[in-house]
């Protein structure tokens, strides 16, 4: 066997380095939140609005929300029991204080998990980041709802919420 040891080792090193840089780029700003990757969650939680990234709320929020789907902001968002368990598992294991912690860091700072907030748009940090958005812009016919992230963040479906 005549393995080309050096190139392999170098290749691995380069790979590890770019993975590190990539990871820092992703976790660095407060602007990348991995989008929902589970097709069931996309289908059930992404029809009425953007499928919000699980890392934007703590696990306690998702747990509370999933137990109140019959009256979900005035809508009936109920799903069958097996589907609900599947969605809960996904949201809670990727939440901002569990699997998605490194993305949520800034957005959830100052948020008490015991309060289990249901709205991303009422998080202290979210309100702070949007303080400069003028009232007319919220009322604009292409926006209308604060939950319409995509109207202003064109990369929202790919997880990007930076200035654009």
């Amino acid at each position: 066997m005549d393995l080309p040891y050096r190139p392999v080792a170098l290749g691995l090193l380069a790979l590890a380095f770019s993975a590190l840089v990539w990871q820092r780029a992703q976790a660095g700003g407060s602007h990348y939140f991995p989008p929902v990757s589970d097709p069931v969650v996309v289908e059930e939680c992404g029809s009425c609005h953007l499928a919000f990234p699980p890392s934007m709320l703590p696990a306690s929020s998702w747990k509370r929300m999933m137990s109140e789907l019959k009256n979900h902001f005035g809508d009936d968002a109920r799903v069958d029991a097996a589907t609900a368990t599947h969605i809960s598992d996904y949201l809670m294991s990727n939440a901002g204080d569990t699997g998605g912690r490194r993305y949520s860091d800034k957005l959830l700072r100052g948020t008490s998990t015991s309060k289990a907030p249901l709205r991303i748009t009422e998080l202290e940090r979210w309100v702070g980041e949007h303080r400069e958005v003028p009232a007319w812009e919220w009322r604009h016919k292409d926006v209308r709802s604060k939950a319409n992230c995509l109207a202003c963040h064109s990369g929202a479906e790919r997880g990007y919420y930076d200035d654009d």
């Binding site: 029809s47 609005h49 005035g74 809508d75 009936d76 209308r144 939950a147 319409n148 995509l150």
Partner: protein
């Protein structure tokens, strides 16, 4: 067996005879609504795409304030895409424009349940559902 029963019903309902060329799940769905409509009203005389069209565009305003009509979210022209109040784009509801629609009865039931409540403030009758669906299948 099940789809044969559906077919019989389709034949029994003159206005729907033309729908017999549709794929089985949609056939069964309409047959189910027809059976229910007949039970609700013995004078039931079939579904009408024209009535479904009027229903689609009518403003009820008895559900949520921001969604008085089906067209508050689905486009006026069912071949065009719609949009929810929170800005999510909805694929067209006309079968010709979205060929995969109405093949999953559980999905249809779920959204009739939600949307009727949001627009009419009550469940839709089997007649209303059958009319609306007939309109969408004809588009």
């Amino acid at each position: 067996m099940k789809s044969q029963a559906g077919l019989l019903l389709l034949i029994a309902v003159p206005a729907m005879a033309s729908a017999s060329a549709l794929a089985a799940p949609r056939e069964d769905l309409l047959a189910g609504y027809a059976a229910q409509a007949k039970q609700d009203d013995p004078g039931f005389a079939g579904f009408s795409a024209a009535r479904g069209e009027a229903f689609h565009r009518r403003s009820f305003g008895r559900g949520k304030v921001d969604t008085p009509a089906c067209t508050s979210c689905h486009a006026d022209d069912p071949r065009a895409a719609g949009k929810t109040p929170a800005g999510k784009i909805i694929d067209p509801v006309a079968l010709s424009a979205s060929p995969s629609r109405y093949a999953d009865p559980a999905k249809v039931r779920k959204w009739f349940g939600r949307n009727c409540k949001e627009v009419l403030g009550r469940a839709c009758t089997a007649q209303e559902k059958g009319d609306w669906l007939s309109f969408m299948l004809s588009q």
